[in-house]
């Protein structure tokens, strides 16, 4: 008895409900169509604008990336020519720190295959001018050999010795001398 009542109640509620939604839906469809037709242009404009903004943003990101890239490259190039390697007195032996720096230089050279470089060998003022010319030469050649061993083509590197003729620090003390006993790199 109760089941029948419930079913009748549900039907009373649901069927008109369906009717109503159908009619509502009809109504809605009718209104959407009219909306699209009216606001199509605006929507298109908005979409355009959104696309442009996105493009601009992408360009900006790209530019930023390129800028950072070139800054990185300039910094690496700069470091190649500004970072010197240093030697002990009367020696052309490459110490651990010098080898580290040379590895970075080798990396740069490999990443920049069109670049050629000159390696300058320098000495401190002690000792005699001629001997220091030869020692400076040994220092430059020593650095070159190390780079070649790391895969840099020898033909891209040239060496020159300045002996004690071009100190960076003209003072007559151990501090100055240590700065002058160097291998210096120039990008041709």
């Amino acid at each position: 008895m109760r089941k029948k009542l419930l079913i009748h109640l549900a039907m009373v509620l649901v069927i008109p409900g369906f009717l109503l939604t159908v009619s509502c839906a009809k109504k809605t469809i009718r209104s959407e169509t009219s909306l699209t037709q009216e606001d199509d242009a605006a929507a298109q404009a908005a979409a355009e604008k959104a696309r442009e903004e996105e493009l601009a943003e992408q360009r900006a990101i790209e530019e930023q990336r390129l800028k950072e890239e070139s800054e990185r490259m300039a910094a690496a190039r700069d470091m190649f020519s500004s970072e010197d390697i240093f030697f002990e007195f009367d020696s052309a032996v490459l110490l651990a720190e010098a080898q580290e720096i040379l590895r970075k230089k080798a990396e740069w050279l490999i990443n920049n295959p069109e670049a050629a470089a000159t390696i300058e060998g320098h000495c401190d003022e002690r000792g005699t001018n001629e001997y220091n010319l030869a020692l400076g030469e040994r220092r430059a050649e020593s650095a070159k050999a190390f780079l070649v061993d790391l895969g840099v083509q020898g033909s891209r590197l040239s060496c020159i010795s300045y002996g004690e003729e071009r100190p960076v620090d003209p003072a007559h003390n151990e501090e100055a001398w240590a700065k002058n006993r160097r291998g210096h790199f120039i990008i041709n």
């Binding site: 009367d90 000792g127 005699t128 010319l133 030869a134 030469e137 060496c159 020159i160």
Partner: protein, 440 residues
């Protein structure tokens, strides 16, 4: 009774005569060649006598006698006596030949130089005499005629005569010294006369130019210059505008001419390692003289050209070695000190001067070419480097920083009488003494 036979007496007498004339004739009792600077000979050089009392002659008399005194003083053999002590006024003496030797021996003069000068227009005439005051005899007498501007040449020529008489060697008065100076802002080569007079700039390369080397005929100069961007070896004729440039890859340094040949040794690193090569004067490689890993440089030749001393790092630190060219044999010369470079072989052949560094300071040493020694010639006075011998091996020129900036200094071969040769703007280094020059 014992009689000495006539023969024995005769032989003894002959021996005395020979020894006697031997000593007096050659003059080598004046300067002991084994220790020439141990005792300086007191010599008096009064102002020359004016033959005519005019101003020009007056000037000549003073400058010429002063120059003579200066020039003889330079040799280190003499003690020039102060004119204030002289008892004689040469102008009052009637004739040059009238010498009252007692006036000179009493003030301690053993040698006396008198001169008479005369100026006529731009011509000058001089008569110069060297006397032994104790023996009371003239040893050398010469008369010269020339232009006024040549009076320095005349005085030097007479000094050569004096030295030749006393030592048997012509001496150094016709020699010059090449050196490096950076007064222009760049290191260039200069040349001055043996006593530092008349320095003149010889290269104008506006770069770094180093280590001048005279050929043994005095006509060519070799040196290293960065004029073309790297250390190349230049070989230039000093009078005529010709020469060669050796610009092989790497360094081309430390030229040293072979005595009496148009050839030189130099250190070239084109093989990847600095080695010494023998080259023609036109720059062609004749021969490779050293063969070992490590630095080889700074050759210097024995006067007979048969041996070459050089610097090598083959034993770990720079030391001096000698190579016999014919046999190829090499032996080490220096065993004292950890850093010996810049050898210079004495023109007499018996010694090698070099620069030895100890405790960060460089000093000049001399070692026998047989290894005897070494003797240290400079000490506690700055850095002393780059020794080079005078052509008669009596003096050594070198660079010294004892005053602060590097200057050219001269000393006797025994290290006495160290004095500055000249001072130019900037710093002077790397002197090389020429051989005795013709046409001087």
């Amino acid at each position: 009774m014992k009689y000495y036979s006539i023969k024995t007496i005769g032989l003894i007498a002959l021996a005395y005569v020979m020894i006697g004339t031997g000593i007096c004739g050659a003059g080598y009792d004046y300067i002991d060649i084994t220790q020439p600077f141990l005792r300086k000979i007191p010599i008096a050089i009064p102002v020359f006598k004016k033959v005519y009392p005019d101003d020009a002659t007056d000037r000549l008399s003073r400058t010429a006698s002063d120059l003579l005194a200066e020039t003889l003083d330079f040799t280190g053999y003499f003690k020039i006596l102060d004119r204030g002590a002289f008892l004689v006024d040469m102008q009052a003496v009637a004739a040059l030949a009238n010498v009252n030797f007692h006036n000179w021996t009493s003030i301690g003069a053993e040698l006396l130089v008198t001169g008479g000068g005369l100026v006529q227009g731009d011509q000058v005439e001089m008569e110069l005499r060297l006397y032994d005051t104790f023996k009371e005899k003239m040893l050398v007498g010469k008369r010269y005629k020339g232009l006024i501007k040549d009076q320095r040449k005349i005085i030097r020529r007479f000094c050569s005569e004096i030295i030749f008489f006393l030592t048997g060697d012509k001496g150094i008065f016709n020699s010059e010294i090449a050196f490096v100076s950076n007064g222009t802002g760049n290191k260039e080569i200069y040349i001055c006369e043996f006593d530092g007079y008349s320095p003149r700039q010889v290269t104008h390369l506006n770069s770094i130019t180093l280590s001048p080397a005279w050929s043994s005929d005095g006509k060519w100069l070799a040196y290293t210059s960065y004029a073309k961007g790297k250390p190349d070896l230049y070989i230039k004729h000093l009078r005529e505008k010709r020469g060669t440039v050796i610009s092989k890859k790497g360094i081309n340094i430390t030229p040293a001419w072979v005595p009496n040949q148009f050839a030189l040794a130099a250190s070239l690193s084109f093989s990847g390692d600095p080695e010494i090569y023998l080259l023609t004067g036109t720059g062609k490689v004749i021969n490779k003289l050293t063969q070992n890993r490590g630095i080889d440089l700074s050759p210097t030749w024995s006067p007979d050209g048969k041996q070459m001393a050089f610097v090598s790092k083959r034993s770990g630190t720079p030391q001096i070695y000698i190579k016999n060219i014919a046999s190829g044999e090499e032996r080490r010369l220096t065993f004292q000190g950890r850093y010996n470079t810049q050898p210079s072989w004495s023109p007499k052949g018996d010694k090698v001067a070099y620069s030895g560094m100890e405790g960060g300071r460089n000093n000049i040493f001399v070692i026998g070419s047989d290894g005897q020694g070494p003797i240290q010639l400079t000490q506690d006075q700055g850095d002393n480097e780059a020794p080079s011998w005078s052509p008669d091996a009596s003096l050594i020129v070198f660079s010294s920083t004892r005053e602060g900036p590097s200057r050219i200094y001269v000393m006797t071969a025994y290290g006495t009488d160290q004095r500055r040769l000249l001072a130019l703007k900037g710093e002077q280094t790397e002197p090389d003494w020429s051989p005795g020059l013709v046409n001087k």
